[in-house]
Amino acid sequence: MSWWPVLALCGAAYALKVLGLAIGERLDRETSERWSLEIVVVPVLAALIVVQTFSSGHRFVLDARTPALLVAAVLVWRKAPFVVVAFAAAATAALLRLVA
């Protein structure tokens, strides 16, 4: 396998990160202290959660990850420690797959 695609991916991945940082430094002067650019992360993380939970390729799927996320949601709501949330989600999905 040649090196160029590896290096192209690495260079482009880093360039994207630096580009975002540079744009952020420009734009943040334009926004208020109440909603600065950090608010962008809120919808993006919400999207990441649903894509990681409900997708398989391009398909919408309901599988063991769905109840795992529900369990996690209840624990987050009950203010359970982070590690407990992570472990409970893994255990739920793993057990459901074992039984299935």
Binding site: M1, W3, P5, V6, L9, C10, A12, A13, Y14, L16, K17, V18, L19, G20, L21, I23, G24, D28, T31, S32, R34, W35, S36, L37, E38, I39, V40, V41, V42, P43, V44, L45, A46, A47, L48, I49, V50, V51, Q52, T53, G57, H58, F60, A64, R65, L69, V71, A72, V76, P81, F82, V83, A86, A88, A89, A90, A93, A94, L95, R97
Partner: protein
């Protein structure tokens, strides 16, 4: 030590789950025809998990290198949005900022923004980056050399850990109904685009849900500025 330091403890648990995925990446990458050195360079220099996994999977499935780059870069595109949001948290001298830019990914961003103070945000970003970078690269090396994984991460339910962890990190960021609406709108945009756009696009496009809030706040600020102008002139 870690027991009374929640940021360190959380960073370590994210690192642990990531390590298993890193082993899978190492195995997949070598199986797809990349050398051990190429596999490790990817993990150090690309350092963006979903993108690397997609890249080697497409190559491994015979999709060709050019065909693999496009989806990998679409998946890496969200790191630009994260970097955009981390201004002020990615502090330090230019070399330090350049180094921190490299570790802007899902986990570091989510951990940083979930903290209440600027100092805690910077610490959470750095500690998560340290744990994640170490775990991702050691895991990659182990997988690439062993050529054989610890089994499918899904058998341990690890694919369910990441959405659960991101939910736990998102909730503290829902400060007020506007933020909650933006989160719901972002999730709906992603679900709507999932079946019809290339991977990566649904997540990037969800950022549009924040635009109304940003516009409203810049209008508010413009009003404040106009209101203050006469006083400043006096």
């Amino acid at each position: 030590m870690a027991s009374n330091d929640p940021i360190l403890r959380n960073a370590l648990s994210i690192g642990l789950a990531t390590a298993v995925y890193a082993v899978s990446f190492g195995v997949l990458s070598v199986a797809a025809g990349f050398s051990i050195a190429q596999t490790c360079v990817m993990s150090v220099a690309c350092f963006t998990g979903a993108s690397q996994l997609t890249f080697v999977s497409v190559v491994g499935a015979g999709g060709g290198v050019a065909g693999a780059l496009a989806p990998a870069l679409l998946l890496a595109g969200r790191n630009a949005l994260y970097a955009l949001s981390l201004k002020g948290i990615l502090s330090g001298t230019a070399p330090k900022r350049a180094l921190r830019a490299q570790v802007v990914v899902d986990e570091t961003t989510a951990m940083a923004h979930a903290q209440p103070t600027l100092a805690a945000r910077r610490r959470a970003f750095d500690l998560t980056a340290l744990c994640l970078f170490t775990a991702w690269n050691i895991g990659t090396l182990v997988g690439a050399i062993a050529g054989r994984g610890l089994g499918d991460p899904r058998d341990y339910g690890l694919d369910a850990v990441f959405p659960a962890v991101f939910l736990a990190l998102l909730v503290p960021q829902l400060r007020g109904p506007d933020a909650t609406r933006a989160a719901v709108a972002g999730a709906l945009i992603a679900l709507a685009l999932l079946p019809i756009t290339p991977a990566g696009v649904p997540i990037i496009a969800s950022a549009l849900a924040a635009v109304p809030l940003l516009l409203a706040s810049s209008r508010r600020r413009a009003r404040v500025r106009m209101g203050q102008a006469p006083e400043a002139g006096r």
